[in-house]
């Protein structure tokens, strides 16, 4: 497999902003390095001195539990000093701009800045202005490179390779930064990628990235080696992108043959919510508009309309 075992590639980048800008060699280099660090977490003394003396700032301007905790834990295990700043404790709520806040962090001599932000491109904005290394921990619907690297690592670990695998990414692709990073990474490593979801969340434009787009999950699943299930990004959707969730899950539970366990693929499942949402796509039955789940969204929409 390309890259595996060849540790000659060197990491020359200051920042990790996305997988689109990385080469296959660079991605493989990270995955190979991961093998070594993975052992650390299983030891009795879970600590190595790799980042001793370095200061890492977790700067999360959008809610996160798993990603922030993962970064914090990883940094602690590598002996870095960690500061966590979340949106409620940051000066952004006082009207300070992202640039101002970043300059202050620079003045504190932070070495690594891990940024989660609701705006696409925010990590690049900071990377262009700071000496510190910027790691993108998710920016808007743009990229989430570390999540995708984790997914790639998992696939490689379970399947032994990535090149040639048929990977299906299911769910809300339009609003998903995880999907985009996965698409870039998988394609660079030679996988065949198919996107599946309702047409409003999987626009045909994605085909220009070099993936297949399908709206029939039953055609794709039997052939898939790997399935990556994505949750619905309600927080990014400004209106209804499909007719309703509950009706779909009802229809899905009525359907007997469309169980994910019927197919032979490996599943990379991130949480029960993800599972629940992804399940909906195992049926393409559109639901009634009157189910209770939607009422809160509707009234939100109504109040926004009134506000304007």
């Amino acid at each position: 497999m390309a890259g595996k075992g060849t540790m000659t590639t060197r990491w020359t980048r200051k920042d990790l902003l996305g997988l689109r800008e990385l080469s296959a060699d660079e991605i493989n280099f990270i995955l190979d390095t991961t093998d070594a660090f993975k052992q650390v977490g299983t030891r009795e003394i879970k600590k190595v001195p790799s980042l001793r003396g370095k200061t890492l700032v977790n700067f999360f301007i959008e809610p996160s539990t798993r990603t922030r905790t993962s970064f914090e834990l990883a940094a602690l295990r590598l002996s870095a000093d960690v500061i966590n700043i979340s949106v409620t404790t940051s000066s952004l709520t006082k009207g300070e701009t992202l640039k101002d806040t970043a300059r202050n962090l620079q003045a504190l001599h932070a070495d690594i800045l891990v940024l989660r932000h609701s705006s696409a491109g925010a990590p690049q904005f900071l990377a262009n202005r700071l000496q510190a290394s910027v790691i993108n921990a998710g920016d808007g619907a743009h990229e989430h490179p570390t999540q995708a690297l984790l997914d790639l690592y998992t696939i490689r670990e379970r399947r032994g390779k990535i090149a040639g695998l048929r990977v299906a990414i299911v769910g809300d692709i339009l609003f998903s930064r995880v999907a985009r990073s996965n698409i870039f990474g998988l394609l660079k490593l030679g996988a065949h990628v198919t996107l599946i979801g309702p047409s409003t969340l999987v626009p045909k434009e994605f085909e220009k990235l070099g993936v297949e787009v399908s709206y029939k999950i039953e055609d794709v699943l039997p052939k898939a080696d790997v399935v990556n299930l994505l949750r619905i990004q309600h927080e990014r959707q400004r209106r209804e992108y499909f007719p309703g969730i509950l009706a779909r899950s009802t229809a899905a539970s009525r359907s007997t043959a469309r169980s994910p366990t019927d197919c032979t693929a490996s599943f990379s499942i991130k949480s029960p919510t993800v599972w629940q949402c992804a399940w909906l796509f195992f049926t393409s039955v559109e639901g009634s508009r009157d189910e209770p789940h939607n009422h809160s969204k509707r009234s939100n929409y109504r109040s926004r309309k009134q506000a304007r």
């Binding site: 992202l98 904005f125 743009h142």
Partner: protein, 434 residues
Amino acid sequence: MSPTIIRNGRIIDPANKRDEIADLYISNGKIVGSKSEIRAKLSRRDGKSEIEEIDAKDLIVAPGLIDMHVHLREPGFSHKETIESGARAAAAGGFTTIVCMPNTSPVPDNAGTIAWIKDRASAIACVNVLPSGSISKNLAGEELAPIGSLAQAGVVAITDDGHCIQNHEVMRRAVEYARMVGLPVLDHCQDYNLVGNGVVHEGYWSTLLGLPGWPAAGEEAIVMRNILLSELCDHPIHCQHISTAGSVRLLREARARGVKISGEVCPHHIALTDEAIQNFDTNCKVNPPLRSRTDVNAVLEGIADGTLSILCSDHAPHADFEKEVEFDVAPFGIIGLETELGLFIDLLVHKHAKIDIARLIEMYTVEPARLLKLDAGTLSRGSPADVTLINPDLKWTVDVDRFRSASRNSPFDGWKLKGRAVRTMVGGKTMWKL
């Protein structure tokens, strides 16, 4: 002010179908017919003042250019631009007349604010500044502004630019009323529901970058609405900053049927595509957004066949601290007064060869003057001596640090262009020269 003779230039005066090497005579701020007229006027006075001579060999002598789409930001946002700095930028770009848009604070939806703008402009602006009034009160798109008193106060058009009246019935009444008072209606074409929170053209790059898309149909739906209302009310509606292939197609069809609809083009919509946003450069964030290559090509064809008849900048200054933020938070807008002529000559005349320089000058003079019924845009005898000298082959490099504008939000810094204005004269007086 001393009389002037501009010697040996190529006089291009599209209003009079004139294109010849000749001398141009200016006296008392007006174009005059001959040197003897100057002498006659001199002798009637003291006879002592000297005649200034300007050598215009290898230069084009054009009527002073008109940019009918400029944001001067004053009153209310003078940290971005002022009437004075915007006018100086206009002069440095070759413009003698500019029309300023109404999205200021307060909004010129009343005669008093229009009077203030005119007073301020006549006191400090080095070019002619003509105000537009808003269509709706406070640009809210709901109630009509007092269009009649705006007309009396001297606006040259009404527009809600930056905003778009969504209620077609309100727009219809505005157009009908504007017809009565003889004001053209300019419209920023944007369907709010289709566009939503879009910040970049909906297409390949919005998909790739995960930025909210601004679909072409969001512009085209309103262009279509305007065609229908222009027909219904039999009154001119001018569609501002046209950016999509569909809009060009709609305008072409409607104009062929004689509908009083027109469209204008900004330089960024032909100089750049949506690919330019890939590094999240907020200086490329503009409304309507930079479009696809297909759209750019269609706009170029629309210019070539006359469907799009007016060139302008949509000069939209913003301060550094406003633009240096996250992409989706940054304000829309690109400044253009000091780059537009260079970009259009370079792209339309030289690079793509879509039109000749005479047509380009016509699109900057006769066409806007006709739409707005201005006494400008011609070198006819007796006209105000607003003159722009252009060197169509001069190579130069854009340097934002040398801009007269108070803002720097241009994506064209460092661009090498061919062709630019070298002298701008307003009322016979040189207001800027290279």
